[in-house]
Amino acid sequence: MSDGPDEQRIAAVAADPRYARLVARRAKIGWLLSAIIFFAFVGYLLLIAFDKALLGMPVGPGVTSIGIPVGLGLILLAIALTGVYVAYANRHHDARMAALLIDHGFQDRVA
């Protein structure tokens, strides 16, 4: 797409070991968090498919069932994991990536 004189410097960025570390770290966190939410949800579905009664059992002396904190917990987990990722990426990842890009002469790409 926007090919140009940047190509040399882009290759230099790609060859920088700091770049490899940063990208690998973010990918690892991204896949780990994806796996957590994926298996949490699939586990929830399997529980519904195979053991409806368990989710219907009361938590305490009242009528509130185990399914309520589990279901609401899944909603909160989705929000919390999203927050964890954004906090990591916006605080740590971006700053290091920006420093690396400046070193390679991409000041214009850094806000």
Binding site: M1, S2, D6, E7, I10, V13, A14, Y19, V23, R26, I29, G30, W31, L33, S34, I37, F38, A40, F41, V42, Y44, L45, L46, I48, A49, F50, K52, A53, L55, G56, P58, G62, V63, T64, S65, G67, I68, G71, L72, L74, I75, L76, A78, I79, L81, T82, G83, Y85, V86, A89, N90, D94, M97, L101, F106, R109, A111
Partner: protein, 568 residues
Amino acid sequence: MKAWLAALATASIMLLPLPAFAAALEGEAQRQPVNWVAILMFVAFVGLTLWITKAAAARTRTASDFYTAGGGISGFQNGLAMAGDYMSAASFLGISAQIFNDGYDGLIYSTGFLVGWPILLFLMAERLRNLGRFTFADVASYRFAQPPVRSFAAVSTLLVVSFYLIAQMVGAGQLIKLLFGLPYAVAVVIVGALMMLYVLFGGMRATTWVQIIKAVLLLGGASFMALMVLAQMGFSLEALFARAVEVKRQAALSGGATMAEAAERGRSIMAPGNFIKDPVSAISFGLALMLGTAGLPHILMRFFTVPDAKEARKSVLWATGWIGYFYILTFIIGFGAIVLVGTEPSYLDGEGALRGGGNMAAIHLAHAIGGNAFLGFISAVAFATILAVVAGLTLSAASAVSHDLYATVFKHGRAGSADELRVSRLTTLALGALAVLLGLVFEKQNVAFMVSLAFALAASGNFPVLILSLLWSGCTTRGAAWGGTIGLLTAFVLTLLSPAVWTATFDLGPAPFPYSSAAIFSVPAGFLSIWLISLLDRSPRAAVDKAGYPAQRVRAETGIGAFAASDH
């Protein structure tokens, strides 16, 4: 029983139709007396949004303005707009109605709709923003030969949007007839005409602001309802649930059940019911919801309205937060309706069903809480919600035609911005007219399967193409275009053969494909086809595609060369 079924059918139009919900859209929604408060509130909303559209029109000069609001939307604003795209009138009325009837099952829907968002963030959000400009096809075709991959993406977008749009238009007509007492055809034409005005003149800027205003109104209204319900229960969820269980028990008793049966029926609302029958359907349904979210063109398009990857991430955090909060509110509202609406004879017909149809649970609750004025407010918000959702859908389809098909495939990237803009607007007009027409044609048809089809198509075509083109260096033009098409076709054919369509819609007897969702087969079919076709691809173009991966990867990871906030 009949009113209950009709209501459920209406509720399920914009939700995922599952076996229990696959009941035909038989018996249209009952027309209500004209509600003047609702109409006045709605007119106020329309006036405000048209004024915004006028302001946006003055600033919509280039293709970038039209498609992405010049890229100047903040993460917070975009998060609200994304949440607005997702919080349809049906997720408000439909999920609360489902909870009103069956209790716990409504929560399963809600979680399914939410879990796609984190995955969209972790695997795709930044890369989408860094590589894309106007449509998700920009990203999917980044290093590939443009015509085949763009054509696939455009066709896929048009299919997904069309099915989604038909379901919304038919749902809109029924709902507005229900809430405002307007005739079906009038309602569909009003929705079509207003949606065209927003998109045509205000482009993405107006569409985004309409969506933001609606999201704020909906969240505000739902918060107030949930708060009032909780206040009556001394802010105790346990008290709310206990009252709801007791209401259901009493209802079963007066229906002639024995004490034991009635107690069982009461407690059943605290546990999963018939919502999910077999494990295969359960997982398949979950996959379609989860991965389909990350392949919906009108959602993906919103990533290009923010200035950079950082704001793109914030968008998803806000969107996930608002949507999750909204589903928790809906849960409280549904249980509140059991207690406050289900026990009040003036909201029920002779047989104990809701007046106006089961979709009305939240609407009657609004009346129970805040009288006619609040009822009017909530009705107007529901109308505004439909309007905002169809505007977003139309804009994304118009972009696929003008940016992907016209400018890139037919003009080989040599179309001017003004030229492209003209084609977008013509497409918007055509799509608006088509949406109204289809809305009228499908009035009495069962369209319940169409949203689930849209999600299955997005999960089986768009999602695998995006993921593999972004993350796998070996992916080639042929693999993406043909593999994606195979994923789409598999989802399409299996959905046609599934009980919701084969049996419930066309009445052709037992369905050849027994599960409620195609995704468990069609998503792997998409991934495997792309992988296999790419692997076997020995064409010269395949070498170019693979050689382009390292440069694409660096740009995707760093944002080097990303399209800036505004290109004029």
